[in-house]
Amino acid sequence: MTSIADAPENPLPVGRSRSRRGRGGVIGWLRANLFSSIPSTVISLLLIFLLAKACVSLLQWGFWNAIWSVPDNQTGACRAIRGLGACWAVIPEKFRFILFGTYPFDQQWRPAVATLTFVALFFVSSRRNWWRKELVLVWGAALVAIGLLMWGGVFGLPFVSQDRWGGLPVTLMLATFGLAVGFPLGIVVALGRRSKLPAIRSLCVLYVELIRGVPLISLLFMASVMFPLFMPDGVNIDKLLRAQIAFVLYAGAYLAEVIRGGLQAVPRGQHEAADALGLSYWKKNGLIILPQAIRHVIPPLVNTFIAFFKDTSLVLIIGIFDLLTTAKTAIIDPAWQSFSVEVYLFVGLIYFAFCFAMSRYSRRLEAQAGST
């Protein structure tokens, strides 16, 4: 607290002036927003200086000194300018592996189409006027189509086992299936946590608190090491599927808490009215309570989706080939070993695009909710 009060500039919301804008063009704007007082001027100048310096060195590294392509794996030129310039040549060389992992090279149009299908699915689901029952069918059809594309074995597509899947489709798959299955689970658990039946309530509390109390990594370890121990002889569940189960359980617990928040926001009168109409428990919740509850919590739900999307990268630790793992593997190649920064920036851009789109979307929903 003292640090705020003693801060030289004392940047307070009260000092924020709304009326100054639009008075006197560029110079007026500059005076109002950058040089309104002596401390503000000092900060502006300092920031401009630092920003310029950072921009110059970034441009030098990223553009002027950068190498964009090298003839077949001859990275000597890149290594010579290490630290001074970026070696973007690693991206065209490795991007197929980073995006699609070890999927058969000539068949990589299939994961590419699957990725586009995912993106189209997200886009369609984000439109408010598309939120109707048919959307569930669209989801079902799209997921089946993605499964057929990835596995193949029909329509003349050669079969590709899931050991060879990798990269962006795996990341999207872990996130999408985790949320698609975790969401109904979350709803059931959230309802269970508010149930009047003590045994069901305590089971739900136990589940949510156990999952939320431990790091995701320990759940993934459990899925990769402990899960096979708990299965009967002869049952061998694929590693990707085991990780997927862990993600579903994880998403279910976090989504349940968000949905519970929404359930608490539904006024009592709605319950009483539904009871007065003589609706059964499931009809009451499915038709009256849940639609209102979920509408309340759409922005936090999207935030949970973002967090969950980022968390899928943790499968790196148990060795599943998602986008981050393929990126890390791509630079094991001795010729390209020292250019991990470039590769991480490339992958970071992909993650950022997805997360930033979602966060913009959530903000827009929030603004819409605030205006109505």
């Binding site: 607290m1 003292t2 640090s3 705020i4 009060a5 003693d6 801060a7 500039e9 004392n10 940047p11 307070l12 919301p13 009260v14 000092g15 924020r16 927003n33 950058l34 309104s36 503000s40 900060i43 502006s44 401009i48 920003l51 630290g83 039946l197 045994a199 069901i200 089971l203 156990l210 109390g213 431990v214 790091p215 990594i217 320990s218 370890f221 459990m222 090491v225 402990m226 121990l229 708990f230 009967p232 002889d233 973002i306 980022k310 968390d311 990268s313 943790l314 790196l316 981050l324 890390k328 020292s338 991990s340 920064v341 991480y344 970071g348 993650y351 950022f352 997360c355 930033f356 966060s359």
Partner: protein
């Protein structure tokens, strides 16, 4: 139903439906609990069978055996000859070392950035916004790997960077000047802690007096005397030395000073910057949640801005800030388990090695869960206590 319906029949039906509801509830509870128990029993019998087939022993007896695992970055004395139990304790200390320092730094950085976002200086608030958006929208693990790669790309220890005298940054980590702590130093620190507690109690008394007679009283001269003067006196009396040990480069390595390994440093930087972006948003929305009228009222009373921020706005903002802050602290602690990706040996990493060495997956993961549930519970209890303290007292 018309009035002609006989009264007793209606009451009877009502009673039946009530008991029907209760019976149904009981029935469903028994079914669900039964399924849960059956599932656990089935998993357990499978596990028992598999463990016996694979000849993996059960129980926690392995904790007493020799670990044989090297730990590079141990705060406590440790050698591979020590037991697994000792290795676990070292791991817990390592986790706490990252989590506690990370929480402190992330809070400071996040608060500063949250305030910067509200600044009237356009450039400052924009930069803060860019910082927040960048860090929030990238996976923490990616950021961690990125920082670690950057650390490894630093010059070798021989040609270490020296931004300030005595601070070295190289691919061996960050080396800071330190003060060797002896018994005398501990006494002085104890005295300072006692002074801090005494001035806190004094502050409470003075506030109580002020509430009684309305006279403002100064705390800072007493505080200064208790927190600075008293330990200084003790230090002088005992003749404690506070010389700063400056690290020196000698050959390939450095001597003296405090060394933060690249793994620890990368993990700390990643956790602090990532969490600070979330904390900045919490602080910003907390301050914005305080009604403008509160500022106007404080100004109308002729209070200074810093005073108004500290005594009028912040106490109200904190009520909004604390609950989400708690969950960020919990997240930081849980995220510290990503250490395993860069090879910093925290509790998860050590449990994982143990698991690979002994095959006792259930026990190792149970220990991880125990540790994290305990830490989470501790943070929750502390923050709930703090939250209750600052909560609105309705009069």
């Amino acid at each position: 139903m018309t009035a002609s319906t006989p009264e007793p029949a209606r009451r009877k039906r009502l009673r039946i439906s009530l008991s029907h509801e209760r019976l149904a509830g009981l029935f469903w509870q028994i079914v669900v609990v039964g399924i849960a128990i059956a599932l656990v029993a089935w998993l357990w019998s499978n596990a028992a069978h598999n463990l016996s087939v694979r000849r993996i022993s059960t129980g926690f007896a392995f904790l007493g055996r020799e670990a044989g695992m090297p730990i590079a970055d141990a705060l406590l004395a440790y050698s591979p000859k020590n037991t697994y139990l000792r290795a676990f304790i070292v791991g817990v200390v390592n986790t706490l070392r990252v989590a506690v320092i990370g929480i402190l730094l992330a809070t400071v950085l996040g608060t500063l950035i949250g305030i910067a976002r509200l600044s009237s200086n356009w450039l400052l608030s924009r930069l803060a916004a860019v910082y927040v958006e960048m860090l929030r929208n990238l996976p923490l693990l990616l950021q961690l790997l990125f920082w670690y790669v950057l650390m490894q790309g630093l010059p070798a220890a021989r040609a270490a960077w020296m931004p300030i005298d005595g601070v070295f940054l190289s691919n061996r980590g960050l080396i800071l000047p330190s003060i060797p702590i002896g018994e005398g130093n501990l006494w002085v620190m104890g005295a300072a802690a006692a002074g801090l507690i005494a001035s806190y109690l004094l502050n409470r008394r003075l506030i109580a007096q002020q509430l009684r007679d309305g006279q403002p009283r100064r705390i800072w001269p007493y505080g200064l005397a208790l927190v600075v003067g008293w330990p200084a006196l003790v230090s002088w009396g005992l003749g404690v030395s506070w010389t700063i040990a400056m690290p020196e480069l000698r050959g390939f390595n450095s001597v003296g000073g405090l060394t933060l390994t690249p793994e620890y440093f990368a993990l700390l930087v990643a956790l602090v910057t990532y969490t600070s972006a979330f904390i900045a948003e919490i602080v910003r929305s907390g301050i914005q949640a305080v009604h403008r009228g509160q500022w106007d009222a404080a100004m109308a009373l002729g209070l200074r801005r810093s005073f108004a921020l500290r005594h009028i706005v912040m106490p109200q903002a904190l009520r909004v800030i604390i609950p989400p802050m708690t969950s960020q602290y919990l997240n930081l602690t849980k995220n510290s388990s990503l250490a395993v990706a860069v090879g910093y040996q925290d509790i998860v990493s050590i449990a994982n090695t143990t698991l690979n060495q002994t095959g006792q997956a259930i026990e190792a993961i149970a220990l991880i869960m125990l540790v994290f549930l305990t830490i989470s519970l501790g943070i929750s209890l502390f923050m709930n206590w703090y939250n209750a303290r600052i909560a609105l007292v309705e009069r």
